[in-house]
Amino acid sequence: MSGFPPLRRIAAGLGAVIVLGVAFAAIFAPLLVPHDPFLQDLNQRMVPPSWMEGGMPAHLFGTDQLGRDYLSRLIYGARISMLIGVMTVITSGLIGITLGVLGGFFGGRVDDVVMFAITCRLSIPLILVALSVVSLIGSSLTVVVFTLGLLLWDRFAVVARTTTMQVRTLDYVSAAWAAGCSRSYILLREVLPNIVHHLIVVATLEMALAILLEAALSFLGLGVPPPLPSWGLMISEAKDYMFFSPWVIMVPGIALFVLVLGINFLGDGLRDLLGATRDA
């Protein structure tokens, strides 16, 4: 093997830097923000970013239609995106991996049920159902997290199921049965460690998807409720002004794009590093 192609290594490193940077901003948001992200200043509405004409040094990325500092809102928005991403992956990972591993490991009727659950889940129109749930229960961060978590487990389940099925038939698992190991020992120590690298890659994909979906829900007005500064909501609130000041949608849009790109780069890097396959 000629080692890892350098270009991909750079991309993976870049991805790691982006994700860690956003995570840092999310954790230490209160210490980093120059202004209160919720403080309205109606005298200073729609101030453009400081490098543009009419910009102010105090507001690096300008202010929004209510005069709130855009950079501060962006940093607090990172909290929401990261929180959504991480929590959704944990919830959906727990559901999907449990179902997939059980179906793949036990086969037979158990697997039939798991396959049926996956098929049903895939048949449900994702965004529409998420929107309905949020609209019916009432929009809050918790509701969005759990709605996405309860909907996005399908890929975890599919990948966990197929990889478990492959590993289950290998001779080292047979040897462990013959060695007198218990079922749970075999599942946890022989099977799971040999599929976990595939699942880590799925986790990055799902994290990116969850972040994009939250943004889309918030954009449609049924995600995170205002005045919380979700990036999707920022784009939605700003879109009436975008024809005259395009930067109002550029700033949060680029933030969203760069974060998701970073996660994808990181995922591709992990895939190469861990030797997982892409399409499962």
């Binding site: 037979g108 009727r109 697997d111 039939d112 396959m115 290998l170 001779d171 080292y172 047979s174 040897a175 462990a176 049965w177 013959a178 060695a179 007198g180 190991c181 218990s182 020992y185 022989e190 460690p193 040999n194």
Partner: protein, 316 residues
């Protein structure tokens, strides 16, 4: 001969339902179809046959990896099905064919070889010392213990698999094609090691292979399987000297010894191939048999004892 045989199979059958589940058609595959034999303690029993004859399924049945559909497997006169997993593990251990898939790629050699001990609840320090001793016994240096399987060659991996099989000091080792994935030079090393260990530890070996030359070299008794049944069973010398079943004869004729100028023999089988999902009526070998008569198409041959051997053929 008052002691019970080390392993005894009584009319063992295994039927797989392929494509079970509610959304696809089921198909019944009779992988093992009424097999009986007994292996005395300390013996080496060979099972030969071609792909699809059920020999690997039989190995897995004897290891307790599958439940038998019918029939009994007895170890030391006790039913395998009545034993707990720990007790079974102390009596029987496997060596599988593919040294690449038979070792967990994410665990160190120490943990792989020590796994049967850990499953018995043996403590860490004792595992370490017993693993080290066992690695040495199979011809590996103690420093191998810290390595991962990927750092070992095929022959070394198979030695690790043998060490794992022997660490509990089992009475019986089931070897399922233990050398067919190896090069000939390494195959000879492993066969020599198995023969030596068998002698020193008084093991009973069940040796499954498609390679007749290997079986002839290592086994005392041989059973020939065809489509899930034992069609001929005899002591090795008798079987190789005068095979009685036409299938055994074809198998023996197919062995290509390195003797130049002998040419390739005509084994006399046609171009039909056995399919365990579709077993022919009558004698299951008749579509390929060079000497089949009309009766073979309808009449199922019963096992017959003939001069120290058991044969299932109407014409034998």
């Amino acid at each position: 001969m008052t002691a019970a045989p080390a392993i005894e199979a009584r009319d063992v059958a295994k039927i797989f339902r392929q494509g079970t589940g509610m959304f696809s058609a089921a198909r019944h595959v009779r992988a093992v179809d009424g097999v009986s034999f007994a292996v005395p303690a300390g013996g080496c029993f060979g099972i030969v046959g071609e792909s699809g004859c059920g020999k690997s399924t039989l190995a897995r049945l004897i290891l307790g990896l599958y439940p038998a559909t019918s029939g009994d497997i007895l170890v030391d006169g006790r039913r395998l099905a009545d034993m707990g997993r720990r007790e079974r593990a102390r009596l029987i251990q496997p060596v599988f064919q593919d040294p690449f898939s038979s070792l967990n790629p994410r665990r160190r050699i120490r943990d792989i070889v020590g796994l049967p001990l850990a499953a018995q609840g043996v403590g860490g320090a004792e595992i370490t010392s017993r693993v080290a001793a066992m690695l040495e016994r199979v011809g590996l240096s103690a420093e191998m213990a810290g390595r991962l399987p990927a750092q070992l060659s095929g022959g070394q991996r198979q030695r690790v698999a043998i060490a794992r099989a022997l660490i509990l000091r089992p009475r019986i080792v089931v070897c399922d094609e233990p050398t067919s994935a190896l090069d000939v030079s390494v195959q000879a090393q492993i066969l020599n090691l198995l023969a030596e260990l068998r002698r020193d530890l008084g093991l009973t070996l069940l040796f499954i292979s498609h390679n007749l030359a290997v079986v002839e070299h290592i086994c005392d008794e041989v059973a020939v399987m065809y489509l899930g049944r034992v069609v001929e069973h005899a002591e090795t010398d008798a079987l190789f000297r005068a095979p009685a079943h036409p299938y055994t004869r074809a198998l023996l004729a197919s062995v290509l010894t390195p003797e130049p100028g002998r040419g390739i023999p005509d084994v006399g089988l046609g171009d039909t191939y056995p399919d365990p999902a579709n077993i022919p009526p009558g004698c299951r070998f008749h579509p390929r048999c060079p000497i089949a008569v009309d009766a073979c198409r309808t009449q199922v041959p019963q096992p017959r004892v003939l001069s120290g051997r058991t044969v299932e053929c109407l014409l034998a």
